[in-house]
């Protein structure tokens, strides 16, 4: 019946303790607020264009002409599959052009794509290496289609996706760009499973962002733009190696809207190893931080709607919190564990460590319950995203969801790496 050894507390320690407690509640409240806000918008506060797109009946003549640029750098493995998936698209062949731009590959990419040299829908280009955005701009200069877009050479599309995106343009006159539903197919490594689950939660987030007109990334895999976007805003920019983020933010800055197309499915592979994943995410985070600095006028600015007022500030704060939260969580876990096994060092036999099944001992503290609710929301986002994936082949609940538990640690790791890079003003590279 002995108590655990107490510590004598000075006033300063008491004060720090109180501040930490208050911070915990503030952070949890903030987290809940965000989740509730997104959920309410998802459930019906805003309009999504799902119905309008579904009910849209168009004749082939009404469909816009589409050009898809496939920029490649050393993509000999996947470029064929990508081009084939585009050629299999259910879209009038005379209205769909594919521009393969080889950005000075050192492997056999250029040779492999020669098989399409006589194909009426495919145009091949090669140029000196200059970076992805230069390849995209090269393609932009050489097309006259109404709708232009990009498809990364490691991604593939569902046959209906171009049609769905095109219909979205017709149904949603305000939309200057359409973002598709991206998922990770056939994950092989554990890292890829984690990304698959992550992308499922993005399906939910992007739908909500679409409703809020707050999409701020135009992902490489098949984001389609009305060509006047580039006519008015100019070509792709370097964007700190995040040209997909930069163009979307630039559009929003100029009050051009992006829409989300639930039914437009594209498939990406996901980074195969932890090392490649960290490299990719450092690139994304680095680009986000720098572009946010350039476009900082948008932050907390109601002129930019929900994006400026809420979504961008929240994402930025989320990054900072991620830096702090993970060490705190790890610290808490280590302390709890050492308290739990402490009896063993004091001579108790291991049998005493088995927890009581008496309901009396179930935790009823406010903080743990709130923590559990936050966790439920996080898994809820994954489940909702999965339910939204009309092409999914698996059941709603599956064990791979648990892999998400490692996600906060991995994401904190790449955030630290990004901060470190920024502090040392290092250059960030593609691979």
């Amino acid at each position: 019946m002995c108590k655990t050894p107490g510590k004598s507390r000075g006033f300063v320690i008491f004060l720090v303790d109180m501040v930490v407690q208050i911070l915990k509640y503030v952070v949890i409240f903030f987290g809940l607020y965000i989740q509730v806000f997104f959920l309410l918008n998802f459930l019906g506060w805003g309009d999504d264009n799902e119905e309008a797109v579904e009910n849209m009946d168009v004749t082939p003549d009404e469909l816009p002409s589409v050009s898809v640029i496939v920029p490649c750098y050393n993509e000999e493995e996947g470029v064929c599959r990508t081009v084939e998936s585009l050629l299999s698209a259910n879209y009038p062949k005379n209205k769909l052009q594919i521009l393969v731009v080889d950005d000075g590959s050192k492997d056999r990419t250029w040779d492999i794509v020669q098989q399409y040299v006589d194909h009426p829908q495919v145009k091949l280009f090669t140029k000196e290496n200059g970076g992805k955005y230069t390849a995209l701009n090269y393609g932009l200069e050489r097309t006259t289609a109404d709708i232009v877009g990009c498809l990364d050479a490691d991604s593939t599309i569902h046959p209906e996706s171009i049609m769905q995106s095109a219909k979205t343009f017709l149904a949603d006159k305000e939309a200057m760009a359409v973002v598709p539903a991206m998922t990770v197919e056939n994950p092989k490594s554990f890292v890829q499973v984690v990304q698959k689950i992550e992308f499922e939660s993005f399906l939910y987030m992007k739908k909500v962002f679409g409703i809020l007109r707050s999409l701020f990334v135009a992902p490489g895999p098949l984001t389609l733009f009305r060509k006047e976007v580039f006519e008015r805003l100019g070509p792709y920019r370097h964007g700190y190696l995040g040209e997909d983020l930069e163009i979307a933010v630039r559009m929003q800055f100029n009050h051009m809207k992006l829409a989300y197309a639930d039914y437009s499915h594209v498939y990406t592979k996901g980074m195969p190893t932890l090392k490649t994943l960290l490299k990719q995410r450092v690139r994304w985070t680095y680009s986000f931080v720098n572009n946010m600095y350039d476009y900082r006028a948008m932050l907390l600015n109601p002129r930019y709607g929900h994006l400026g007022l809420f979504v961008l500030p929240v994402t930025t704060i989320g990054l900072v919190l991620g830096l702090l939260a993970v060490p705190l969580i790890v610290y808490g876990l280590v302390i709890s564990f050492s308290n739990y096994i402490q009896p063993l060092f004091l001579g108790a036999n291991p049998g005493t460590l088995v927890p009581h099944l008496d309901p009396f001992y179930f935790t009823t503290g406010a903080l743990p319950i709130l923590g559990i609710i936050t966790l439920i929301f996080a898994f809820g986002a994954i489940l909702i995203g999965r339910a939204l994936n009309h092409e999914r082949k698996q059941k709603l609940l599956s064990l791979d969801i648990l892999s998400f538990l490692v996600y906060p640690f991995i994401s904190a790791w790449w955030t630290y790496k990004t901060v470190w890079k920024i502090i040392r003003s290092q250059q960030v590279t593609w691979r």
């Binding site: 002995c2 108590k3 655990t4 309410l40 001579g347 009396f360 609710i373």
Partner: protein, 225 residues
């Protein structure tokens, strides 16, 4: 942004605040319920003790047969003790409810002890028991408590009366004076003799001759096989 869009943020705030405070309320209610449960269980034990006392006083030697079987409320006392420790951890040892429950519990232990002593004097019934004095800062006391738990596993009839040396209760002060405790903790009192410092399992078991008989029997049976 339209005015109605700003409204979204306010409504979200209200809903989140509502959720937050509901959780706080539920948490408080369930924790209070736990405190009440422990208090109720202690009341039941007090009632049982009082009932036995009264019976014993009303009947003389004839009263001895009352005590042959029961140690029902002894194991209840142990369960309540565990729950009280949990409440202490959750609510903190400074919590007023917890302090009162602990004092109540200490008094119940002493009542049980007095009854055991009387049983021995009047009816010759031997109940193995000891007093265990501890304090919250004393790490050795924790070790000792685990040793005592192990002994109780093998000898469930042992009654361990645990008292917090620093609890502000006059009855504990009386015990301290009676046994001339000098504050070295842990302190065990067996058969009115004080043992300071951590005692090993064997040295404690030696103090109860009744157990030696049974353990010798067990050894004999084992060697025969």
């Amino acid at each position: 942004m339209k005015k109605t869009e700003y409204l979204k943020y306010i409504v979200t705030f209200l809903i989140t605040a509502g959720l937050f405070f509901t959780i706080f309320y539920v948490s408080k209610v369930t924790t209070d319920q736990k405190t009440r449960t422990v208090k109720f269980e202690q009341d039941t034990i007090a009632l049982n003790l009082l009932s036995s006392e009264v019976q014993f006083s009303l009947l003389n030697k004839a009263g001895c047969s009352v005590f042959q079987t029961e140690s029902a409320f002894e194991s209840d006392l142990q369960t309540v003790g565990d729950r009280l420790t949990y409440l202490e951890k959750t609510l903190g040892s400074d919590n007023e409810d917890v302090l009162n429950l602990r004092k109540y519990y200490s008094l119940l232990e002493m009542k049980d002890y007095l009854l055991v002593v009387e049983q021995k004097e009047r009816c010759g019934i031997e109940t193995p028991h000891l007093m265990f004095f501890y304090s919250s800062e004393c790490v050795d006391c924790q070790k000792q408590s685990y040793t005592l738990s192990e002994i109780r596993n093998d000898h469930p009839e042992l009654r361990v009366y645990a008292f917090d040396y620093n609890l502000d209760l006059p009855a504990i002060q009386t015990l301290k004076t009676a046994y001339k405790l000098d504050g070295t903790l842990p302190a065990l009192v067996v058969n009115d003799k004080v043992y300071n410092g951590v005692q090993s399992r064997e040295s404690i078991e030696k103090l109860f001759p009744a157990w030696k008989a049974t353990s010798k029997k067990v050894e004999k049976v084992e060697t025969q096989n």
